[in-house]
């Protein structure tokens, strides 16, 4: 008689501290020893991690609110942007290296290309590409409406932008920059390529998920969400697209023929609205944070119940895996930052 072992893993708290601001965004350094944290009131923090402790220093300010932080892959530099429109580049010690101010509009999104060569930013209707020292490389013609999200594909060749009316993809092959529209008449809030680069997905204000098969351009829509879909994450093997519908996790299965006509995998465990979710990079563990002050760990496709759950001290606002998939940083509304390590039991 053989016994199938249920995969089991837990989250182990490895450090926590309280920052003096609401946590909006978190970015890990490549070596996982540092984190940049964006504060909702405008502060930018650099957090250093050691074996036993976390230490933080306030290093910058974006008037009115910081909106995004992004660590440059393979490097010790990171960028922040905010409601003051400014884009700021810091070094590993938190010293200011360069700053740009594209306009008066908010710079809502930052995305480094996977090779770390260029930084894409979205300021109002305008997308810009910057070389690593914040020298402008290319400014795209303003789009029809404000950009809400940016996402690179894995090779770093295509940059997707979400806006009202669909997605726009810029193929970045300087000096050529080609544009392709993926039209969908709804306010689109996210833009995410699958790691396989086969699919491009978006979540919308009116409660749908829309995606395109990139090889053919064919598109498909998944309805039924009770409200806006503003968070999504692809599993490392591109099998699942995780989204949230209030307190339920809704996973669309992109294996085989694709999710059309199928029912999604629905995971239950949270007792209140899910605020943030993230798949492990290159892996299949999923973490979710909900208004029930719970952080849960899942392995979709293998189990239907949470593998582990941790209580937070306030509403979780942001979840970010380290690039090596080993740690999860969780930011909370009251400024608490906690680092968990994924520990496999068997």
């Amino acid at each position: 008689m053989s016994r199938v072992k249920t995969p089991n893993a837990i989250l182990v708290l490895r450090g926590e501290l309280k920052l003096d601001d609401y946590i909006v965004d978190i970015a890990w350094s490549t070596d996982t020893m540092r984190l940049a944290v964006a504060g909702g009131e405008g502060k930018v923090f650099l957090v250093k991690r050691s074996e036993s402790a976390l230490g933080a220093r306030e290093i910058g300010q974006h008037g009115m609110g910081t909106l995004a932080v992004a660590w440059r892959p393979g490097s010790s530099a990171f960028a922040s942007s905010g409601q003051d429109s400014r884009i700021t580049l810091f070094d590993a010690e938190g010293a200011l290296v360069a700053q740009q101010r594209p306009s008066m509009n908010w710079t809502t999104a930052l995305a480094w290309s996977p090779d770390g060569r260029r930084l894409a930013t979205a300021t109002g209707k305008q997308i810009s590409l910057w070389a690593s020292s914040l020298v402008v490389e290319h400014t795209f013609a303003p789009l029809a409406s404000t950009v809400t999200a940016l996402g690179w594909d894995k090779p770093g060749r295509d940059l997707a932008a979400a806006m009202n009316g669909g997605l726009v993809v810029h193929r970045v092959e300087p000096p050529r920059f080609q544009l392709r529209h993926y039209k969908w008449s709804a306010p689109c809030l996210t833009a995410a390529f699958s790691p396989s680069s086969r699919f491009l997905a978006t979540g919308t204000q009116d409660g749908t998920v829309h995606f395109w098969y990139l090889s053919t351009g064919r598109d498909s829509q998944m309805r039924g969400y009770p409200g806006r879909v503003d968070g999504m994450s692809w599993s490392g093997d591109s099998r699942y697209l995780a989204t949230a519908a209030h307190e339920q996790i809704v996973l669309w299965d992109f294996g085989d023929k694709g999710p059309e006509g199928s029912r999604p995998l629905q995971l239950r465990g949270h007792t209140d609205r899910i605020e943030c979710l993230a798949f492990q990079p290159g892996g299949n563990y999923l973490v979710t944070g909900g208004r029930d002050w719970r952080l849960s760990l899942w392995l979709p496709g293998k189990t239907t119940t949470a593998l582990d759950a941790q209580l937070t001290a306030a509403e979780p606002t942001c979840l970010r895996w380290s690039p090596d998939g080993r740690f999860v940083a969780a930011g909370e509304r009251n400024g608490r930052l906690s680092i968990y390590e994924l520990v496999r039991i068997f």
């Binding site: 909006v24 909702g40 009131e41 409601q83 404000t146 709804a186 306010p187 204000q205 009116d206 806006r228």
Partner: protein
Amino acid sequence: MTTMDRVPVTVLTGFLESGKVTLLNRVLSENHSKRIAVIENEFGEVGVVHQLVIVAEEEIVETNNGRICCTGRSDLLRILEQLLKRRDKFDYIIETTRMADSSPVAQTFFLDDNFKQQFLLDATVTLVDARYIEKHFDKMTEAGEQVAFVDVIRLNKTDPVGEAELERVARQVRAINGTARIFRTQNANVSIDCVLDVGASDLQRTLAVDGSFLGPQYPLEWAGVYQLAVGQHTLRTGAEAQAHHHHEHGPGCSHDHSYEHKRGDNHDDHGDARDKSLGFVVLTVAAATQQTLAAAIEPPVRAFAGEAVTVARGGSLKVAPAQQPIDVNHKGNHFVVDVAAVGTYANFCEHAPAEFNLRTEGAKPIVQRAFTSHPHDEEISSIDISDLRSLETQKRNDWLSNLLKSRGTDIFRMKGVISLEGEARRCVFHGVHMILDGQLEQLWAAGATWRNTLVFIGRNLDREKLEAGLHSCLA
């Protein structure tokens, strides 16, 4: 979450930018302990130094969720989300919009469950310039919609607008939007009470302030009492008598002299094409007083309900409780009234006489009164319906949901207070077009009558159908 926990939001709208800015700066600089976040659509609107000011470029988006179409502002969505992150830093939000039609702003608050729970659209305030708005009411387009959507109207008087004209505009505004509170201002000077803590989303609160709009509507707009001698009296209409134009001034005069002259050339354009005749009744009354006039209203109201043959140009009018519509089609007409005995006589008119330059030769009204009239087709109007009996929740949901989906485009605003069977709390709801938000609020006050009251502001509204709909929801 109760209303008390939600952040009240005031929206300032209107054609006049300067009016909004003056009001905004006044609210921010006044000495009060209220912490206010401001969302403006242009840099420099806020003149005073203020902590929490966000500038946004207005972007309209349409969403379609389950056949409910909603127009909202995506920039506002982003800003509100960010503001929620610093929820403990402010008590109020003021948003300014350039658009006359403020429904996208209002609907934005309903677009998201989270927003519905965290924000309360407290009031939409507009500044209306009396002179400007009257010109545009004739066309019943943007001006009418601007007025229809709002909760608070600051009716601004600037020279040379007279009191009488202001009165007329106020009446026209009220005919469109019965629920709006009207503040008279001069040079946009008004207290912050019309901006903060207005509570306009709660119909009961609006009624507590001024329930007079829930009064009766009449089939006529004007009545005046004259002292007439025995003999034939001539009524004139239209431009023909411009050369002999004399203005009827009296103690209760409701027009403004300058206004008359401005409109002198356009009499042919007055009213709609279908207003080829003007409903008219002439009666004897006991005295030339407001009380007598009010007491005499019933027979003409009944008479207006009846069918009648239009009296042609040059025709004669009887003193009798009967409808005698007069032909106002031509450039100028005259009619004759035979008066058998000296005394006081009242003319009851379907529309305001000034619209047709209607006057009685040789006589001026001693007293006169304007009435809130029934809405015409295609006009924007307010309709209120009520019932003392409780409603059944599911039936109410079905009725309102179907109503908004089918008539949502024409229904601009809806507000109501409802009593549901088995529920001791009041249900307060308000809607903008197809979007509806309802909340169970506090308990009905001890001793209060549990009463359903709904107000609809919109175009082509059918009172009978709305009442039938309400009755279909009775428990």
